[in-house]
């Protein structure tokens, strides 16, 4: 056993068991499928991962902060609807491809606004974020149906739907945007004052207040960030589809929470990081992609992911019990 505690790579893996799992599924699918180990497929995985991944970045912030946001799927759908619809408004007809710009900006602002509303209610009323965002999930989804009249919107400007096919060097543009956001949120969380205070508020709210930290604004900022990322995710998803459907993003909140929890973030707050979350979304992405390549019916993915979720958390508990204070004598 002593060896396990001394080898730095193994120690790192024990603290981040999800990356061990990522490694295992990666090797497994590389051997099991002829089509998996392929640069183009890796691009695919990154693009597929980016949708849930972007929201998961925001969810990591919100959950470390001691809250949760269930409304992200609905926010994603609302933002996508705005992005596709606004570009065909009459006032922008003469703008050419520039008509996309106000549409996307408005969609992102709508996402930030939804997050701000969630955050403001949680801050000012003190109602649990689970309840507030459960209400928001239902309410915003309702708004989507009202706004779209239960119809799908289609993008008339082909530049919009072509966007997702662009590449930066070897990387698809969607993957680049995702990876840039990973870096940005990682820095935000690990290096800035806001990130530090996010941990403090989630870890011990009372101690944070006693240290002069203003709890409410930090929570509201994090809700606005997740709202923005959900909207961005919705915009990018609608560029891939060239359309926005009213049911877009259903169940995404569950996928996102699964990925974040797989990555080691605690539902109780105060603990977690972006490196773990990245592992969590990649695990889900690789698993879905690999099983799809092996033509395993999609619902088996649910069974396996459900089992993995519990197994990873179990391992985490086993390995990390001592560092979490179980060693106190």
């Amino acid at each position: 056993m002593a060896y396990f505690y001394q080898n730095p790579a193994l120690r790192w893996l024990m603290r981040n068991p999800i990356w061990g799992f990522v490694l295992i599924v990666f090797i497994f699918f590389s051997l099991a499928s002829d089509h998996f180990f392929d640069a183009r497929n890796f691009q695919n995985i990154l693009v597929q991962t980016s949708t849930i991944g972007l929201i998961a970045l925001g969810m990591t912030l919100v959950m470390i902060n001691g809250n949760i946001d269930l409304s992200v799927g609905a926010t994603l759908a609302l933002a996508a609807a705005f992005a596709v619809d606004v570009q065909s408004w009459a006032m922008f007809t003469t703008w050419g491809n520039w008509q996309i710009l106000p549409a996307v900006c408005l969609a992102l602002l709508v996402g930030i606004a939804m997050g701000a509303i969630n955050g403001f209610i949680v801050w000012k009323t003190g109602v649990d974020a689970f309840i507030v965002t459960l209400g928001a999930m239902l309410g915003i989804r309702g708004l989507v149906f009202v706004y779209t009249g239960e119809q799908s919107f289609y993008a008339m400007n082909f530049a919009y739907s072509d966007f997702s096919a662009l590449s930066v060097g070897p990387l698809p543009v969607l993957a680049v945007i995702f990876l840039l956001c990973v870096l940005a949120v990682h820095w935000l969380l690990s290096r800035t004052v806001h990130g530090r205070n996010t941990y403090a508020v989630g870890g011990n709210r009372e101690a944070a207040v006693n240290a002069g930290i203003r709890v409410g604004p930090h929570m509201m900022i994090n809700f606005m960030i997740i709202g923005f990322l959900a909207a961005l995710s919705g915009v990018l998803l609608s560029t891939q589809m060239g359309a926005a459907t009213p049911n877009l993003g259903r169940d995404y909140e569950l996928w996102v929470i699964t990925a974040v929890v797989l990555g080691g973030t605690k539902l109780t707050g105060g603990k977690g990081d972006i490196i773990g979350t990245l592992g969590g979304v990649l695990a889900i992405g690789i698993l879905r992609n690999g099983m799809n390549l092996m033509q395993v019916p999609a619902f088996y993915v649910y069974v396996i992911l459900g089992s993995i979720l519990i197994a990873v958390l179990f391992l985490d508990k086993r390995f990390n019990a001592s560092t979490d204070g179980g060693l106190r004598l």
């Binding site: 004052v193 011990n204 101690a207 106190r328």
Partner: protein
């Protein structure tokens, strides 16, 4: 069934290691039937680990557990209980919504057919045990409605559902009043008379000398010796515990105070405290002494902006200030080391360094980022200054001992360069050795010119650190003493609400 010549329980050469730590290093311990055997040691000495070995929660790496002459192996608390070894936890582990009877037989409810609970038997048996413990409440009552002391009785009653050979009490008096303690001691003596072996763990010397027959001392996970209570004294026990003798003196530092840093006039918060006026000078430690609930903590919370006073004035450095949040208080140079450091002072999952810099991290930035080097510089400075023992700044604060945790909280505020430092119960739950270290620290801070307020419920502590003592009773200041004029009698009278001629 208990043979009085054979130990009820014997531990031989118990060794238990955790990665990187040798928690128990060949510990011997025994309890005779009908004996109260006290187990003493500072926090981290290995008491809790030894108890967990006893209760079957940990497996020893080496050594033997012998019960009534037979070596046994216990892998779960249930097996330990079946062997007649029961642990009464420091923290109560009851289900508050259930009745006392249900709690007493939790997990072992008597049954009828089809898995139905046999309520009649349950209540008969429970009431019988409660009667044996001379409890004045019935087993049908909901636990949430009982006082803490009575809840503890339920916990003890739970231990007596089996034919206990050995009952382990872990800090049982931590939350009891004096009157309740007397009842508990009666029960312990009753159990003793019935031939049960008692292991009694406590920090409080007076209790140990009242109750115990023998005392075993642990230090740093090792056995340091067993003393017969009747043949020893507090000094000898303390020396064994900390390896040196304790400083029980009164503060005799030279008085050399600067200008008045904090002045409070007629501060009132209805129902909590009324008409409170006092001042603290630079270089002075003012001790607030009183019973729990006398309003001392509430005054501290008001000064720190956690409560809004009804009326009154607070002046800092001669200027009247309005404080409505901890932010305001911090901006005016007031710092509070709270009563309960784990719940109010520290973010346990965070590293020591991050905890230390928490209130000022916004001032330690280069560009948008927090400057790691600036943070480390502060951490290193106060780790050295306060002699904080931690392997690295990365250690999460939750893992440290109480004394080191307290030093982190103190360091956190010192690094803010406060004008007034308020310390509420600075040594609660901290072992004897770290205690005197923290007392010395508070004196040093005064010598450096800080204005310090110490709130404490322990008279030796107040006497050791204060230059002046403010005695409170029922939300009012009864009397103020300088350290030279105070006597223990007058202090006790003042905090009990007895008006003396001088005070009138």
């Amino acid at each position: 069934m208990n043979d009085p010549r054979e130990p009820a329980l014997r531990l031989q050469g118990i060794v238990k290691t955790f990665p990187g730590v040798r928690a128990l290093d060949g510990v011997d311990f025994e309890v005779m039937p009908g004996e109260v055997h006290a187990l003493l040691g500072e926090n981290g000495a290995g008491k809790s680990t030894l108890m967990k070995v006893l209760a079957g929660m940990y497996q020893p790496d080496e050594g033997q557990i012998i019960i009534a002459g037979q070596p046994v192996r216990m892998t779960t608390p249930i097996e330990a209980k079946a062997q007649g070894v029961v642990l009464i936890h420091q923290e109560l582990s009851l289900v508050p919504e259930m009745s006392a009877a249900e709690n007493i037989y939790l997990g072992e409810l008597p049954r009828r057919s089809l898995g139905r609970v046999d309520w009649k038997t349950l209540e008969e048996r429970s009431n019988a045990i409660l009667t044996r413990l001379k409890c004045k409440f019935r087993a049908e009552v909901t636990v949430a409605h009982l006082s803490i002391a009575n809840q503890q009785m339920v916990e003890i009653a739970r231990a007596l559902t089996v034919d206990a050979r050995v009952v382990v009490f872990d800090e049982p008096t931590a939350s009891l009043t004096d009157a309740e303690k007397v009842v508990l001691f009666d029960i312990i003596n009753d159990l003793k008379a019935q031939g049960v072996g008692i292991v009694y763990i406590s920090h409080r010397m007076d209790e140990i000398f009242t109750l115990s027959d023998r005392i075993t001392v642990l230090r740093d996970g090792a056995y340091r010796g067993t003393l017969t209570t009747a043949e020893t004294n507090e000094d000898e026990v303390t020396r064994l515990m900390i390896g040196r003798s304790l400083d029980l003196s009164r503060n005799e530092a030279p008085r050399d105070f600067g200008k008045t840093m904090l002045e409070v006039q007629k501060l009132t918060c209805p129902g909590l405290f009324e008409d409170v006026s006092f001042s603290v000078r630079a270089g002075e430690v003012v001790g607030f002494y009183g019973l729990v609930g006398a309003g001392r903590t509430e005054i501290a919370e008001t000064l720190f902006g956690l409560r809004v006073p009804d009326s009154g004035e607070i002046r800092i450095d001669g200027e009247p200030v309005a404080i409505s949040s901890p932010r305001d208080a911090i901006a005016h140079g007031i710092s509070l080391v709270p009563e309960n450091r784990k719940e109010q002072g520290l973010v346990l999952q965070m590293t020591c360094r991050d905890n230390m810099t928490l209130p000022q991290v916004q001032n330690l930035t280069t560009g948008p980022f927090v400057s790691q080097s600036a943070e480390l510089a502060i951490f290193d400075q106060y780790r050295d200054k306060l002699a904080i023992k931690t392997p690295s700044w990365r250690q999460s604060a939750g893992v440290l001992s109480g004394g080191n945790q307290q030093k982190i909280v103190i360091g956190k505020w010192l690094s803010m360069q406060p004008r007034v430092l308020i310390v509420d119960e600075p040594t609660r739950g901290i072992d004897v050795g770290s205690k005197s270290e923290i007392h010395q620290l508070l004196r040093d801070l005064a010598a450096q010119g800080y204005a310090v307020i110490v709130i404490s419920s322990e008279m030796p502590e107040v006497l050791r650190v204060s230059d002046r003592i403010v005695a409170m009773y029922h939300g009012r200041i009864m009397r103020e003493f300088t350290i030279d004029e105070v006597t223990e009698d007058s202090l006790v009278q003042a905090i009990s609400g007895i008006k003396t001629t001088e005070a009138a």
